[in-house]
Amino acid sequence: MLSIRNLYGGYGKITILNGATADIHGAAITTMIGPNGAGKSTVFKAIFGLLDIHSGEIIFDGENIVGLSPAELIARGISYVPQGRNVIPQLSVYHNLELGGITADDQDKVKSRIDSVMDMFPALREHANRKAIELSGGQQKQLEVARALLLDPKLLLIDEPSIGLSPNLVKEVFKTLQMLRDNGVTVLMVEQNAKSALAVSDYGLVLELGQVRMHDTGETLLNDPRVGHLFLGGHFDEESNSNPT
């Protein structure tokens, strides 16, 4: 479905990706984990045409997509939810959502989808006519995630959706991703909330210093002591005995 081959790239003179290689399975959820600054978000930017790539290939549906613009990638069925806060500040919540489906041919379908994502995130319906900038941090994140669900992407890149969301909504989002996967969408997700993320994922990927270190099923990674020690919180994990989320 998506394969990344020997990718080198970075920001200006600084190289961040050092030969990252991975094959992402279709119609499955793959979660990428790794320490802060490993280059996870950078991989996403690379796939979505936002990074200066020095060498390597990204093959999507049999085509090398290195060098394509975001617009072209959207046309090929890739959607991207970046890390951090990304709304159009002065437009209303509803119009923000509408923009999420701006490239769709079938606008009626977008309308009905807006309706259904609002069911999923009731706060968005409640605040539909307010400016996006006025929402609370978590509400803005909801808006972003909701916005990514308006199209029928083949590949969804989603960078740490759980930041700022209340626990019940995190569960909701993970459930939705599973539902998308069941409908044949390939999901590539970055999560620091790694334990719950890996639990809902089919595969896991460990990225470190711009290289893919491990790539296995989610369960295997969760139980791998090296991964546990280095990335899942070492003794923090041992200390806490509960796990509500």
């Binding site: 790794g34 802060n36 609370s136 759980s162 919180g233 923090f236 509500p244």
Partner: protein
């Protein structure tokens, strides 16, 4: 008579037709780690901003060690020993990491005049280096802060809140985006500050694992009002909280 470190009385804040914070009162005792949780949009950040001078509360008052601090500016409050972080990343993107941290401490060192004619770093480099060491970002010392990854900026942001050796620190989602291993480290750090220097904390977090293991007491906000208050165990089993926030 001893006063609580911070006492919040009937604070309310409204935006248009949204009652963001509704008659909230609570005390923060010296030396405790208080958790503040609640659904998205329940008014947690707004409450912080009311306590810290970013917003003027519509009504109510805030006192620090018994003296009224309502209406003081954020910088005055910082100089009184209150540190904070923001929910959104908030660093000085073009300055180096070390400069970010020095800036966080320099206003507490010397006078206006000595800061103009004294040494360029106000004698803070050592302390700043130690602090970024605590937060495991020493290797990024001379990078511009804006080029750090999300989680790294979050750590830097937290480090800055501690530079001035505050007695009270308000953290708005410090764990978001931070790697689990780092998070363990962060928690240890906070606990160390708490036990060594008696630093008091108020922490907003959606990461329950983190909050429950860190905090001694938790306040739950929903639609601007306090709906529950208690120890982590009490909160975890409180049905109202489960319905409003934690989910089944």
């Amino acid at each position: 008579m001893t006063h609580p470190l911070l006492s919040v009385r009937s604070v309310s804040k409204r935006f248009g037709n949204i009652q963001a914070v509704n008659d909230v009162s609570f005390d923060v005792q010296q030396g405790e780690i208080l958790g503040l949780i609640g659904p998205n949009g329940s008014g947690k950040s707004t409450l912080f901003n009311c306590l810290l001078g970013q917003y003027q509360p519509d009504s109510g008052s805030v006192a620090l060690k018994g003296s009224n601090i309502t209406g003081k500016s954020p910088s005055e409050l910082n100089l009184l020993g209150i540190g904070r972080t923001f929910q959104q990343l908030s660093v000085f993107p073009e300055m180096t990491v070390i400069d970010n941290v020095i800036l966080a401490g320099q206003e507490h060192s010397g006078s206006m005049i000595s800061r103009l004619f004294g040494s360029p770093d106000a004698g803070l480099t050592k302390a700043a280096e130690k602090l970024i060491g605590f937060f495991k970002i020493s290797h990024l010392r001379d990078e511009p802060a804006g080029s750090l990854s999300y989680g790294q900026q979050k750590l830097l942001d937290a480090a800055m809140a501690f530079m001035a050796e505050p007695s009270l620190v308000l953290l708005d989602e410090p764990a978001g985006g931070v790697n689990l291993t780092m998070l363990g480290n962060l928690k240890e750090r906070l606990q160390a500050f708490n036990s060594e220097f008696g630093t008091t904390f108020v922490v907003i977090e959606h990461n329950m694992e983190f909050v429950m293991s860190l905090c001694s007491r938790i306040i739950v906000l929903a639609e601007g009002s306090v709906i529950a208050e208690g120890t982590p165990e009490e909160i975890r089993s409180n049905q109202t909280v489960i319905d409003a926030y934690l989910g089944a």
